[in-house]
């Protein structure tokens, strides 16, 4: 079961400074999670949307993440680590789901910022760039993708990234390096694929046989 395995994993792979305490106050846990939710719900939800490409699923898993945070409340001893700890939970929730479902659906994220009103040109540019980026992100391994998203979009520090990924600082940095290299390759592959597709469309429009 995901929840159980997560809790076990957290206990096995707690970042430095985190430990398991005996017994916990459920009301205190509730208030803690309530506060955590108010502070971090947007970024956790955004992370899960970016990882999963599915806003509804991301909402469900955001809920799951906070419920798991409630369950695992006693595993957090240092409040200053709460953000990374929460990301760790969300990260595991996302990976569990991805591994279970192997989501491959691609949904552009641009336009989901409902409160913003960018220009048409901006939207077009963002669509192209983000579409290209997201297609490339789809091509790289999930853990690398998570590392990139957390570092580039969620501004996790090195230590936070390590905690969120459940690995050492050195390993996190190595993962991030591999992720950047993978993304470089994936972007190249994506651009090549797009170029080939455009060439094929152009050829079709001209009524010429495809090369």
């Amino acid at each position: 079961m995901v929840a159980d395995s997560l809790e076990l994993e957290q206990r096995r792979a707690l970042p430095a400074g985190l430990s398991v305490s005996a017994g916990w106050d459920r009301d205190e846990a509730y208030r803690f999670v309530e506060d955590l939710f108010a502070k971090h719900q947007n970024e956790i939800y955004a992370y899960l949307v970016r990882m999963l490409r599915d806003p509804d699923l991301a909402a469900d898993l955001t809920q799951d993440a906070f419920v798991k945070a409630y369950r695992a409340y006693d595993s957090l001893q240092k409040p200053e680590n709460a953000r990374a700890w929460l990301y760790q939970i969300a990260h595991r929730v996302a990976l569990d789901d991805l591994r279970r479902k192997r989501i491959v659906r691609f949904v552009p994220l641009v336009g989901e910022g409902r409160n913003s009103a960018p220009s048409a040109e901006h939207i077009a540019m963002d669509l192209r760039l983000s579409g290209e980026l997201q297609a490339a992100l789809e091509r790289i391994p999930e853990r690398q993708r998570a590392a990139l998203l957390l570092a580039e979009l969620h501004d996790l520090t090195g230590l936070e990234l390590a905690a969120a990924l459940g690995v050492s600082h050195v390993a996190a940095r190595a993962l991030l390096t591999r992720a950047r290299q993978s993304l470089r390759e994936a972007l190249a592959a994506e651009r090549l694929a797009v170029a080939q597709a455009e060439a094929a469309r152009d050829a079709a429009r001209r009524g010429q046989p495809r090369a």
Binding site: R26, D27, V33, T62, Q63, G113, D126, Q134, Q181, R184
Partner: protein
């Protein structure tokens, strides 16, 4: 593939790796020097290095578009936490529900969201009060609401019951664990009836009469109509504020006269029923063994004076707005020596008739549908096949479910003659019809004989929402699997629907969800619940952005919860303090 990749040269690979590492932090000086020197001589590696910087810029497009989480996300999360085993509320599951375990009396057509709480020991006759704030933590500001009535049937220390009514006009933020909300709940005793421990009650659309079902020690039920006269306006407005009206009563024989009901305030909505398919009324546990007798007429001796009219606005202090009949309008017993079964009982929209299902207390036959013309002294069985279960009203017709040719069907039945309008009926069991009459929720599956061999329980199937009266269309599955009981109810406008289901026939604890309803299609937005499977007991009421339901209390036992929402988003709730044994009906 980029030309920069795939080159099997250790120096180039190392350079590109270091370039990637450098993106996230400075390199050690020797490595930095080596890399810079290499880049000066390697155009490909230099391009890759620049590419890493370019890649980072791509993320800025995503950074500017932060996905916004659904507004009800905390509500869902909090509900999920509440439902955690051992969670704030989950730890207190499994308590036995007091009252009629298998009986969930239906809300009345057009009936405003007045919840009648029936409970032995509930407050011991003292007014229902909001639960005080918790011992620690900040107290969020409560949220003011348009006031809404909550009518309460409580049991006094002497074993009698009293109707009380209050106004809930404040709720706490849903995310708050502590709150200083004071929902202005001032209880007023309206009437007093003696009787047993187990009681169910339904109020008429005009709120001028209760039908009370009492279970006696022998297991037989007495069904009583108890006048409860509102203010001169004839209805209890949402702003009506009850006031103190102490009533002391002495049990006495009820006068055998029936007072014709006042004109109702019929809504456009026809029937909102709450089937509890557990057709067999379970015997109360020994601890809940009633002390009354089934045929004893309850005594009603109100002693308060009527108010000239219901106050149209909220008053800062309690005032008399709902009073008992000044002439001490007595209860009448409209049925005796029966066992009420089937779970659904309801008034017509105009309050002129009341229907329920009962079988003889001696178990000699199966159930029939009884209809009480409120101008008559007694309810009469309008079906005679001994296998009919009342599902609700559709206009002036009864919806009656029965097993026909081995299959569960529902028929439109004449409330006077008992004749079925349709020969084959509809392939639906215990349908609950939406206010617009175009949609209904029903059990789509098989039923089986209950343990008493007289009534039925759902067997295999699912609870669905679909077109009515076709009992079909593009149905939505509300619940499936083994259901012990369910309730479905809409608000009067049909904008939201509540679905309560229970799978455990023993505890009667279930889960309650509240869904927005698409005004165009009538379909429930199951993916966007306002409340999602919160622990709840049977018997809830909905109206005007307010949901009243019984559920586990924060400190154990049972409480009455009032939840408010706007649009599709829950805004707050308040817990009305009670004690074990509370049951909410409508």
């Amino acid at each position: 593939m980029s030309p920069a990749f795939g080159r099997d040269t250790a120096g180039h690979d190392r350079a590109q790796e270091l370039a990637a590492v450098r993106v996230d932090g400075p390199l050690e000086a020797p490595l930095e020097a080596w890399l810079e020197a290499h880049l000066l001589t390697c155009a490909d590696c230099s391009a890759v290095t620049q590419g890493f910087d370019a890649d980072r810029s791509l993320f800025s497009a995503l950074r500017d578009t932060l996905p916004i989480p659904p507004r009800d996300l905390w509500a869902r999360t909090a509900a999920a936490i509440d439902a955690e085993p051992g969670g704030p509320f989950g730890a207190r599951r499994g308590r036995r529900i007091f009252g009629f375990p298998a009986m969930t009396l239906a809300p009345v057509a057009g009936f405003a969201a007045v919840a009648i709480v029936v409970g032995a020991g509930l407050l011991n006759g003292s007014p229902v009060v909001p639960r005080p704030p918790g011992p620690s933590g900040p107290a969020p500001t409560p949220i003011a609401l348009a006031p809404g009535d909550v009518a309460v049937l409580t049991r006094g220390a002497d074993g009698s019951y009293q109707v009380q009514m209050g106004v809930v006009d404040e709720v706490c933020p849903l995310a708050a664990k502590t709150c200083e909300a004071n929902p202005s709940f001032e209880a007023t005793q309206l009437a007093r009836i003696g009787g047993a421990d187990s009681v169910g009650a339904i109020i008429s659309p005009a709120k001028d009469r209760l039908v009370v079902v009492q279970r006696g020690a022998t297991g037989a039920d007495g069904v009583y109509a108890v006048p409860v006269k509102p203010g001169a306006a004839g209805t209890t407005t949402a702003s009506a504020r009850p006031s103190e009206a102490p009533a002391t009563t002495t049990p006495s024989a009820a006068a055998p006269t029936a007072e014709p009901s006042q004109d109702g305030t019929p809504d456009a909505s026809p029937v909102v029923a709450s089937p509890s398919p557990d057709a067999t009324v379970e015997a109360p546990s020994p601890s809940d063994e009633p002390s009354g007798t089934p045929t004893e007429s309850p005594a009603v001796e109100p002693s308060v004076t009527p108010e000239a009219s219901a106050e149209p606005t909220i008053e800062p202090s309690p005032s008399v707005a709902v009073t008992p009949a000044p002439d001490g309008g007595d209860a009448i017993q409209i049925a005796s020596d029966v066992v009420v079964v089937g779970g659904v009982a309801a008034y017509t929209a105009d309050g002129s008739h009341f229907a329920f299902t009962a079988r003889p207390a001696d178990g000699s036959t199966g159930p029939d549908v009884y209809v009480w013309d409120t101008s008559e002294p007694l309810a009469n069985a309008v079906t005679t096949d001994h296998q009919s279960i009342f599902a609700g009203w559709e206009g002036k017709e009864l919806l009656v479910s029965r097993v026909a040719d081995g299959a569960p069907r529902t028929f439109h039945v004449n409330a006077r003659t008992g004749a079925a309008r349709d020969d084959r009926g509809h392939a639906a069991w215990l349908p609950t019809v939406a206010p617009d009459g175009a949609r209904a929720a029903w059990w789509d599956g098989s039923v089986d004989l209950a343990d008493d061999d007289l009534t039925w329980v759902p067997e295999k199937g699912r609870l669905v929402l679909g077109d009515w009266p076709d009992a079909g269309g593009d149905t939505q599955v509300l619940a499936k699997g083994s259901l012990a009981a369910w309730e479905v109810s809409w608000d009067a406008a049909g904008t939201v629907m509540g679905v309560w289901t229970a799978t455990d026939r023993g505890t009667k604890e279930g889960r309650l969800s509240l869904y927005p309803v698409d005004p165009e299609t009538g379909r429930a937005r199951l993916g966007s619940p306002i409340l999602d499977e919160v622990p709840a007991f049977a018997g809830f009421a909905i109206e005007d952005g307010r949901l009243v339901y019984p559920g586990p209390g924060t400190d154990g036992g049972r409480s009455l919860w009032v939840v408010a929402w706007k649009g599709d988003v829950p805004v707050g709730r308040v817990e009305l303090e009670g004690e074990d044994g509370a049951t909410v009906i409508r």
